[in-house]
């Protein structure tokens, strides 16, 4: 009941925001004002991810406006709480608001699927910085997002094997225990990790579990890990749960290697878990700080906060739309065509070019190891 009420409140605010800001941009269209939207969780349990991504979008807009005088870029906030049920109620308003030329997002795969019908109908180009579910760019799936959906992040079928490889590196005859948090992100990723393990020489899968993402007592899972004799434990859920879990695993006396995917990839993870996190291995995408310290310092100066997860991806996605605006693509149809044919550089140095299903050509995952309370980039997992 509690959640329902919150959802409907969120819908009302999101709708008000969308329409309110939309009308502002109409009024001032003559002074070259354009709107792009960011959609992701801006309130609720997943809000930190969305706020981080939206900050990167706003940062990109700020840099663009500073470099191109005479343009005003409005970033419309679309809060879907990362929840498909909320997304399906905020998306119609955004789909119908023709002032919005493109959407950076949606951040989460489930929310993306729920939003897609409205964006397809509106011909609105989407570039997600973080929706990694494979089915979104699979033309044979009902979830297929083409031609409007694009993403600047590698898919989970690339991440799974990379995570399997990175987790077991340096462990001979690894006995691996894999568990998920029952979310739509973690369950398929676990499948790709398990598939990837088959290709790792000497590694065997010795057990698994599926733990609700609200769990804080992991003692049954720890008991299973001890019974299975696992030397490597892989978790495909998110960082906050991972931090609670790793403490309990270490407190039980286990010294098994712990590894997680990009859901665990967050500098908050070693901060939350403290000493227990030391040596943990995480695959993820490098943030702005990984690109250059100077960029991160500038971000902090302009935005007042540090950059977070998927900041590179959100920044890249926003820049594609901004370069479209600069190239005079100021209708949705022109923008969508522009994005589909786009070819340009990511700030990570890779070339962004979408294939016909909306995926980028690269999907490189970096490996990070926790050292002295910080996840340190150890390079691309090969």
């Amino acid at each position: 009941m509690n959640k329902k009420i919150k959802q409907s409140l969120a819908i009302v605010t999101a709708a008000a925001l969308a329409f309110g800001l939309g009308s502002v941009s109409t009024a001032s269209a003559a002074t070259k004002t354009f709107s792009i939207a960011y959609q992701g969780p801006l309130s609720g349990g997943e809000a930190s991810t969305g706020i981080d991504e939206q900050n990167a979008v706003k940062y990109a807009a700020k840099l663009f406006m500073a470099a191109n005088k005479g343009y005003t870029i409005k970033v419309v906030s679309v809060d879907d709480q990362g929840d498909p049920a909320v997304a399906s109620t905020v998306a119609p308003g955004i789909g119908a608001n023709k002032n919005i030329l493109g959407v950076v997002g949606p951040a989460y795969s489930g929310a993306t699927i729920a939003s897609l019908p409205y964006y397809k109908a509106g011909g609105l180009a989407l570039i997600s910085p973080s929706a990694t579910r494979v089915s979104l760019t699979d033309p044979t799936s009902p979830d297929f997002g083409g031609p409007v959906f694009h993403r600047v992040v590698g898919k989970d079928d690339l991440q799974g094997p990379a995570l399997a490889k990175y987790a077991t590196a340096g462990v001979s005859n690894a006995k691996v225990f894999v568990f998920d948090d029952q979310s739509a992100y973690a369950v398929p990723l676990r499948g790709f990790v398990e598939a990837g393990l088959k290709k790792v020489a000497g590694a065997t899968l010795v057990g698994g579990d599926s733990v609700p993402n609200t769990t804080t007592d992991f003692s049954p899972t720890v008991a299973k890990i001890k019974t299975s004799g696992a030397t490597v434990v892989i978790y495909t859920g998110y960082y906050s749960q991972a931090a609670v879990f790793i403490k309990q695993l270490r407190d039980s006396g286990s010294t098994a290697v712990f590894a997680g995917g990009d859901g665990v990839f967050n500098q908050e993870f070693p901060k939350l878990a403290g000493a227990a996190a030391e040596g943990s291995k995480v695959t993820g995408v490098g943030g702005l700080a990984g690109i250059s310290a100077k960029l991160e310092a500038d971000f902090k100066k302009k935005m007042g906060v540090s950059s977070g997860v998927y900041s590179v991806e959100a920044f890249d996605a926003a820049n594609i739309f901004l370069s479209g605006i600069k190239a005079g693509k100021t209708t949705r149809a022109a923008m969508l065509k522009y994005v589909n044919a786009y070819s340009g550089k990511s700030i990570s140095g890779n070339t962004i070019k979408f294939n016909k299903n909306g995926d980028i050509s690269y999907g490189l995952f970096a490996g990070f190891t926790s050292k002295n309370g910080v996840l340190v980039n150890t390079g691309i997992v090969k």
Partner: protein, 316 residues
């Protein structure tokens, strides 16, 4: 299937009892208020969540522990633990009284029906949660490790850890004190009188408002103590942890017989053990399914829970 249970039986049992005691203390918050007002205090889950922050703030901001600092020992350890326990109880107790003033008292005075207070309780629980979300920028908060999790001894292959031992013993003591308070003190008698017959109690000169506020306070103190133990064991909190823990504790209260203090005790322990055993045998994904199947079965045969709803008789 049963290999994990056999191999790790005692580890699981101890973990289940420690978790069970946390449930016991939270379910006291539900049961006390229900016993007196015949209403579910839906804000109790958020009172618990605020309680956990009492301990985190004490460790982090009063005693300046950080994630990298050494755990405390000896006298300092006792001082920090007791201060944070009292702080959590204080924060949760005051929050509970605040909830009573804002969400219950005025509506009760106006003689509105019960559904109105139900909604206002849900309203205030959303407000409590959202305020904490804004204060913590939606992020999870880790508590520094103050209590080193030393393995005291090994019994039947299970590690007996200091934090679980402290949780079990201290939670049992707190439960016992509160139970005695209700049973023996003058105020406890007044609480029981109101729960038996509100009108008769009023005629006997019982100050109804004071009794209800005290009930919320005592329930809040127990719930706050649960927050302290939760942090001691799991060292983690977030603005949204209340829902899951509150739901579990409410289930425990219903399982034992809501409104019944002894019921909360056995309901909490049963639930804690049931959860870890079910997770170990069937897989954690079956935990909630098992718990609620057991709840439905119990309610089928004993509609008032294991120990019945008869607050008046069991408390007397």
């Amino acid at each position: 299937m049963f290999s994990v249970l056999i191999d790790q039986f005692w580890s699981l049992t101890i973990a289940g009892i420690a978790l069970g005691f946390i449930y016991v203390l939270i379910s006291l918050g539900y049961t006390m208020v229900y016993g007196v007002l015949r209403m579910i205090n839906f804000a109790n889950s958020e009172i618990f969540m605020w309680g956990t922050f009492g301990t985190v703030v004490t460790n982090r901001d009063i005693f300046h522990y950080t994630q990298t600092s050494e755990p405390a020992h000896g006298f300092k350890l006792a001082l920090v633990l007791i201060t944070s326990l009292l702080m959590s109880m204080l924060v949760a107790g005051l929050t509970a009284v605040f909830v009573e003033f804002v969400a219950y008292r005025r509506l009760r005075m106006k003689g509105t029906n019960r559904l109105a207070t139900l909604i206002s309780a849900i309203g205030i629980s959303i407000a409590l949660q959202e305020v904490m979300r804004l204060l913590t920028s939606s992020r999870p908060v880790g508590s520094p490790r103050v209590l080193e999790k030393i393995i005291l001894t090994e019994v039947w292959g299970a590690n007996i850890r200091l934090d679980t031992v402290i949780t079990i013993i201290a939670a049992a003591i707190i439960f016992f004190i509160l139970e005695r308070f209700i049973k023996l003190s003058r105020m406890g008698k007044a609480i029981r009188a109101v729960s038996q017959n509100e009108d008769a109690a009023k005629l006997m000169g019982v100050n109804l408002n004071r009794v209800i506020t005290t009930t919320f306070l005592v329930g809040g103190l127990a719930t706050g103590a649960a927050g302290f133990f939760y942090i001691t064991v799991f060292e983690y909190t977030k603005f949204n942890i209340g829902f899951t823990m509150g739901m579990a504790a409410f289930t425990a209260a219903v399982l034992g017989g809501i409104g019944n203090i002894r019921g909360a005790f056995f309901g909490g322990l049963t639930l804690g053990l049931l959860e870890v055993y079910a997770s170990a045998i069937l897989g954690t994904q079956w935990k909630a399914v098992t718990v609620f199947i057991v709840l439905v079965l119990v309610l089928l045969f004993k509609p008032n829970g294991l120990f019945g709803e008869a607050v008046q008789t069991t408390r007397a």
